[in-house]
């Protein structure tokens, strides 16, 4: 069942058109990786999906009871977070904040969901630790736990493995795979083509404004192997 449908989506970044008439369907339970050069509009596209950025044209439809606010988002780390005094538990719980528009305090259920998320990502023993004292891999797990708290259906991950060493990267891919196996739909930006081919179900390869490839990962593998992936407009 189609969870998200993009029709003729056009978006720009700082006045420059980066995505032109993109059509895309994401099925429930899918694991879609978005790859492409820097500046090809990967993050811009995700921000469009999340409702953080307006579309220049086209539209994005959510179905299966999904709303833009019910997406678990893992953004790239910000400067602010580098010395922010926050315990792991505080960060994970904050994933529940958008679950109702007038939520002032976390309910017992919110707290339980946060504890479950920490359990799932094996960071429960870090609950009282300070976020900025953790290793890169642990920090990403915390942000992933927060994302899970915000959504049961869809995770959107913006380069969750950037800056991680190879061990932590592998672990992160394993965790994401596990979440996907449990029924979570995943849309993720990544640079690591090998890992993407190994893990994802579908791939969207963005080039200059146009998608160079949209489709099944196996097909992508063949195309890359044969060196057939090229800018069509060049």
């Amino acid at each position: 069942m189609a969870l998200i449908t993009l029709e003729n989506v056009t978006m720009s970044y700082e006045g420059v058109k980066v995505i032109d008439s993109l059509n895309l369907t994401v099925e429930s339970g899918d694991y879609l990786c978005v790859v492409g050069e820097n500046g090809s509009g990967k993050t811009t596209l995700l921000r469009g999906l999340l409702g953080l950025k307006k579309l220049d044209g086209g539209n994005i439809c959510f179905s299966d009871g999904l709303k833009a606010e019910k997406i678990g988002y893992l953004p790239q780390q910000t400067e602010v977070q580098k010395d922010f005094p926050a315990s792991v538990r505080e960060v994970v719980r904050s994933g529940r904040i958008g679950t109702s528009p007038f939520k002032l305090f976390y309910s017992a259920e919110d707290k339980r969901i946060a504890e479950d998320a920490m359990e799932k990502l094996e960071i429960k023993d870090l609950a009282k630790k300070c976020y900025h004292d953790l290793s890169g891999g642990q920090q990403q797990r915390v942000l992933l736990a927060r994302a899970i708290c915000a959504s049961e259906k869809l995770l959107i991950l913006d380069e969750p493995v950037s800056g991680l060493d190879s061990n932590a990267t592998d672990e992160m891919y394993d965790v994401i795979k596990r979440l996907n196996n449990d029924g979570m739909t995943v849309i993720m930006i990544s640079h690591d083509i090998d890992k993407v081919i190994k893990n994802s179900k579908h791939i969207l390869h963005l080039g200059q404004q146009k998608a160079l490839f949209v489709g099944k990962t196996e097909d992508y593998k063949t195309i890359v192997k044969n060196g057939e992936l090229q800018e069509k407009n060049s």
């Binding site: 953080l52 926050a86 904050s94 958008g98 528009p101």
Partner: protein, 270 residues
């Protein structure tokens, strides 16, 4: 201690300054945690200079000072917090605006020929606190406390990660505006006591000291309030004992001492 107590009981202006100071310290500490973490440490400084300019303008034109200063500073605060960083980066923007406003203020006061006022605006004093300030401070403090108690979780979420909270449907713009307006009022009222040059100390020091030692947002928030109130009371007593040294300077020095102590503790722990 007895002399301080009896002095407060005897002189109305002292008890007034004590109440206003406590309220402002509390507000500044809470708002300061958010502002420091948002990388807006200098906003207090910028706003106090704008407030100085606005008060000078009001004095020269014969308007009621707070009626001019509060709206002007509130608008400036919202602009700085919401629009800052678009064309000129936040810190540069604050530097330009605060120097500009200070220059306008000094020019206006010098032109009108009342130099005594300039000192009290820049340095602040216990005598400058009026009874209308006290009412305003109590109202402000109640609002700040209510905002922090009711919206604590939202404030944390938006301060830690604006994009994430926006994606989950929280509106960070609204919280930034609320924080900006409350900061503006805190600065305008607080600068009578602390002086335009030192009010920003009240905003940044407690949060920065707390961050040396405490590692959760809740602990930092709580500790900032305690540090701020303790520094104020100590500074306030010092002013009375060391007659002639302005309150703003005394409070800032106590804050500085706490900051150094906490930094040492942090180093020892490592």
């Amino acid at each position: 201690m007895n002399t301080i107590f009896s002095a407060i009981m005897t002189y109305n202006f002292l008890s007034r300054a004590l109440v206003v100071g406590l309220m402002i310290s509390l507000c500044a500490a809470l708002l300061g945690v958010v502002l420091v973490l948002k990388r807006y440490s200098m906003i207090g400084d910028g706003l106090s200079h704008i407030s100085f300019g606005a008060l000078a303008f009001a004095a020269v034109m014969g308007y009621a000072p707070l009626k001019v200063a509060i709206p002007v500073v509130a608008v400036a605060a919202v602009l700085l917090l919401r629009l800052g960083g678009k064309k000129i980066k936040g810190d540069s923007l604050i530097a330009i605006i605060s120097a500009g406003a200070l220059a306008i203020g000094i020019t206006l006061i010098s032109y009108s020929g009342s130099s005594a006022d300039m000192n009290s605006y820049l340095i602040g004093s216990l005598y400058a606190v009026k009874s209308s300030d006290m009412t305003l401070a109590i109202v402000l403090c109640s609002v700040v406390l209510a905002v922090f108690v009711l919206m604590y979780n939202r404030i944390f979420a938006t301060t830690f990660d604006e994009d994430f909270s926006k994606a989950t449907g929280v509106k960070p713009g609204m919280y930034n505006t609320v924080i900006a307006v409350l900061t503006a009022v805190t600065v305008v009222i607080g600068m009578r006591l602390m002086g335009s040059l030192l009010i920003s100390a009240l905003i940044v020091f407690p949060a920065l000291s707390s961050m040396r030692i405490f590692k959760s947002f809740f602990a930092v928030t709580l500790s900032s309030v305690v540090i701020s109130v303790v520094s104020f009371i100590t500074g306030f007593c010092l002013t009375i004992i060391l007659d002639g040294i302005p309150t703003g300077a005394c409070i800032t020095l106590v804050n500085l001492l706490i900051f150094v102590l906490f930094s040492l503790v942090e180093q020892v722990r490592k």
